[in-house]
Subunit: 141 residues, 2 copies
DNA sequence: CTACCAACATACCATGCAGGTAGGTTAATG
DNA sequence: CATTAACCTACCTGCATGGTATGTTGGTAG
């Protein structure tokens, strides 16, 4: 199951896409609009920043800003960054030790296909799809 | 993510389908074949039994047995029974309190469609698909 | 009737993660 | 220098996972 961390991150990104004006948007605004605890948001945003999805600036007039066009962010990218591994079962996660029963496992192909399905679904949706913005809607500076 | 409980339950069901002979199969056999702790298996099977998926009999010569043809069990049915709710996010789970932001939530439709996709995928696969048995392969008594 | 087998039930425990809260530090602006 | 806002660290509570251990109940075989 996707945790609140992933869900909140997605909502913040959509919010930043909808309210973008070329400048920096303080998290307090987003927290108010989205009704999410500011402190909790502040714990999520650094990973988005380190991942190069947003750009954060300290101090007065500061805040966060998208670094690319909303149409260039996929949901898969955002969720992966925040949630880590989106594998449906432990044996498919990146840090999993190789399973000796893999070759004969009757259920492994089921999980693999489901993983693939999940990836394709989330990779096919961008921020502009969610924000209801046209893909050609360009960044205003 | 699907927990070991769900994964093990599925493997047990497939094992019971592959080795079914009309009689009862003791969990010790399954535990040995599947390399799963017997004690842990014994904690999973009562729910499968209560759910009417298998039939358990005490004592010597006892064990568990499928109650229907393998082709009549869907993966969705098995996982739902053992895992409870398979909703990808908390707001879609059955026990979730109604969210006041649902009407305006930009991300809700995304989760709903993913939930639907998951359901359709798992409901489209049966035990006989996994066990490699032909659907017409009938129960031998 | 007794030994044995196997399902079934219950209790306990260690670990990790979710979902926060609290407080302070650093960097930029006016 | 006061304010703003990102950023960092530590801590806390509750719950789920993945077991282990110790039985009890019900049925069969000898």
């Amino acid at each position: 199951m996707i945790s609140t961390k992933g869900r909140y991150a997605l909502r913040v990104m959509v919010d930043l896409a909808e309210h973008r004006n070329g400048g920096y948007i303080p998290m307090k605004e987003v927290a108010d609009r989205q009704q999410i605890s500011l402190k909790y948001l502040e714990r999520i945003l650094p990973s988005l920043s380190r991942g190069g999805l947003v750009d954060g600036v300290h101090g007065k007039g500061g805040g966060y800003r998208l670094m690319r066009d909303p149409g260039d962010y996929t949901v898969w990218e955002i969720l992966s960054l925040v949630e880590g591994d989106l594998a449906p079962v432990a044996c498919l996660a990146g840090n999993a030790k190789p399973c000796s029963r893999a070759a004969e496992c009757r259920t492994l192909p089921l999980w693999e296909k489901y993983y693939q399905l999940t990836k394709e679904y989330f990779a096919g949706i961008t921020l502009s799809d969610l924000a209801g913005l046209a893909p050609a809607d360009n960044y205003v500076i």
